[in-house]
Amino acid sequence: MIPDKLPLSVDATDEVSTLIETLLKTSQRVEELTGGEVDTVLDSNGRAFLLPSAQDQLRSNEAARLTAILNALPANIALLDFQGGIVLVNEAWRQHADANALTVPGYGVGLNYLDFCDRACGGGSSDAQHVAKGIRSVLNSKEESFSMEYPSHSPTEQRWFLLTVTPVARNSPNGAVIMHLNITERKLASSLVVESRQRLALATESAHIGIWDWDVAANKMIWDRQMYELYGLREQDFTGAYDAWQQGLHPEDRSRAEAEIAAALAGDKDFHSEFRVMWPNGEVRDIEAHGLVQRACDGMATRMIGVNWDITGRKRGESALRESNEKFRQLADNLTDAFWIRSPDMRELYYMSPAFARIWGRSVESMYANPQQWADFILPEDRERVAGAFTALSKDASNLDIEYRIVRPDGALRWIRSRGFQVRDAANTLIRQTGIMTDITAQRQAADALRESEERYRDLFENASDLIQTVAANGALLYVNQAWRAALGYKEDDMPSLKFLDLISPDQHAQTELWFRQALAGAPVSLVESQFVSKTHKQILVEGSVSPKVVNGEVVSLRCIFRDVTEKKGLEAQFLRAQRLEGIGALASGVAHDLNNMLAPILMSAPMLRWGLKPEQFEATLNTIESCAQRGAEMVKQLLTFGRGVEGQRVLLQPDRLIREIIKIVEGTFPKSVRVRSSREGASWPVLGDPTQLHQVLLNLCVNARDAMPKGGTLTYKAENVTLDQQYAAMATEAKAGPYVIIRVADTGTGIPKGVLDRMFEPFFTTKELGIGTGLGLSTVLGIVRSHGGFIKVDTEMGRGTEFAVYLPAAPERSLQGDKGDPSPVPEGNGETVLVVDDEAVITEACRSSLEKHGYRVLIAHDGVEALTIYATRAAEIGAIISDLEMPFLDGVGLVRAVKRMQPEARILIATAIDSSDARNDKVAQLREIGANSFLTKPFNSNTLLLALHHQFHP
């Protein structure tokens, strides 16, 4: 308030005193007026005047605040005046003095701090001298501040202090603040850091742990020496950039490790990683890495510090172990048997393979949860036995192998085979028990089934009434059944010494050896008849079969099943004898009947001769008599052959002629009420047969037909050619594919009732009155027809008549040699076109005239080439080709080959002078090979040509 440079004059003293008086009074008055509620008053310019009480309070407040601050500070603080005198000290100072027994009155306040220092210098403390100098330079404004660290060790501890000297006012010497700060902790800490850093370096080096420090923002990585070793790099080769580190990683692990780093930087998780590094020389090492991220206050990662170490050895061990474990697991998991490992005392379960669940129907987990519970699932009957076996396993060194039954949760029984083994270490100490449980239910069931089946069969064999025996190849008896022993009287004890032949009646030995050898050769023998001799020399007639038992392609034994037919044979013999007697009687009457049929015309003719006849009638009658007598004689002969079963002769016969002969007989002898007709379709093919037998067949059928028409009717004969194809043969068992002649004998009689139809071919079956028929007629007919390779079909309708169709195999190719000059008409053509090929015009013209006369159209070619040209253009039109074999340009063989290629079904007739049955002939062989089988032997006449051609069109 008072101007700094006011020259104070004596004159002004009074006025100043007065003004102060006024000021004080004014202040007091204002305070009175405002009741102490106001601390300033303001003049009209807004300038504030602090009232005295407020001034006092402010000043004391200020001092108190300053003191409090000083006392709150932990450093020892003293305020010095400009000369170095101590103005005040703080609480820490005082406490320090108390604690260190520094007995300075008033804690040095009022004394000069510099004197202390100077005195201490006398004691040789260079520090104190240095301090004194520093304080002086600050007090004199020579230095802005001064500080130094110094040790001040007490008898009990090491201490360090930091001394700072700060001027109170910067520009004028106005004292200073001295502060001693105890920095012992910091000192100690920093020396600890150095020490621990050394220890860490030692540790990391010996543990091969590399330490890295990455300044993220600056992208600078600092590695310690170990890091370079871990990455196989030299210090000068590493740029310190992140990329340089990343380049050192194994390519396969690089992206993963980088992702983990990125995640750590992003704060998602800490950096704990394992990866491989690839050294510049290609060596691969496994590294484990950990890192911590440091962040700025905005959360950005600034720095990452971490460690790396080599885990290659551990990794390799781990992977080997893992591989081994994996192999074991795969093996155990895929075993269909359950595999287990238990503690030596069996109480703990270390492992149970998944197959357990499949076999036992219970989870593996439940087994782990309660390792002893499995015993409860064993069938109660087996439980004790199993427990005993397992106890033995846990005690003895013996292995376990036991079969038992368990009950699955679904109630099903399973058979288990359990095998256990002890596992011992090198010192032979039992370390664990292992075992395998196999589901043998199916095997058990199969074994049971087999046993049952065996029992069943043994039972069957034992109780069979047949004599069953198994004979070894050397004749030893391997097995005989109950019936066998009973029949032959041998006991079980006798068996070893017995041979099969011992059982056979000696007169049967040769025969027995025959079929025995046959059976040993592998062929089953059926319908064996033999005679056994029992122990008591009783003869036993047997029949049965023998079948070889073959093992690995070799006959090891023979199974013989025989039946005692001693009694049956006796009965059969009696029956046959009776039958034979009956048969002879029946035969006699039957023969009489047939003979009567023959004798009747003779007897009827004889009176006519006596009456005298016209010469031509006379001749005819004599012929009839002769023919009938001849037939009768033949019939007698045939009866004899029939009795003996001798095959008749085989000659080529023309069925038409047979029919004509029969008709001749029938017309002469049958009643006039029976009209006889015959119808023909062209010439029938010849058949091979016995004329007498076939006569008998037809005659028999005629007689039957006559008998079926007591009131008369029509008897029709008909012969026709037919070719049965495979389809027909397949449908009729007796028929074979091929040409047949059917001789039909039809009547208009009563028809055959169903019951008779079924049985009429049986021997001795007859519908005729006793003494009239033998019952052998139709059975003989059938026998004869069958012996000719034919068969009979019967078509009958009650009240309308019956037709017997006799099918006889025909031999159409034999027809040409057969009936020469047979006046049977030649078959006519039906407008078919025939290509005639021959190089001789005489022949082609002769063929043309006879073929055209008989209804064919004819084309002529004079050599093979011309023929082929014609055929190529008119193939559809040409129905058949008749070709010479020997021709210029293209011979018959070439022509046939070419034509067959165009039309495989073409009808070709080869005309040749060569014997077509001579297979050694080249051309014939070639022709047959290409399918030309029809030959016309030169020279041929018109009829032969027409027949052969007709056969081409109607095979």
Partner: protein
């Protein structure tokens, strides 16, 4: 209904003098108690802003200047006598 009326105060003080500090404390307490959420206090140090004191015609500190609601009032002192202060500020009716 009246409780939404905003009270605007201007308190003139002189630095950290005891009466000024007391006045600030008393005014704050009064406002918190009687005018929660509907008061606005501006504190002006006359040492720092002598021009504003002059403009408002302040001759002593502490002085409380009620700017609104009408009528405008000036109260000098530490504001320790709460009853008198509330009467002077017209807060009685408001409190009821």
């Amino acid at each position: 209904m009246l409780s939404h009326i905003l009270y605007t105060f201007r308190l003139y003080v002189a630095g950290e003098t005891p009466s000024s500090a007391l006045a600030i404390a008393n005014l704050s307490a009064l406002c918190r108690a009687r005018l929660p959420d509907r008061h606005k206090i501006e504190i002006i140090d006359v040492f720092r802003q002598p021009k504003r004191a002059m403009a408002d015609g302040i001759i002593m500190t502490p002085t409380l200047f009620k700017l609104g609601p009408a009528p405008i009032r000036k109260i000098v002192g530490t504001l320790s006598q709460t009853l008198l202060v509330t009467q002077a500020l017209g807060l009685e009716a408001d409190a009821a």
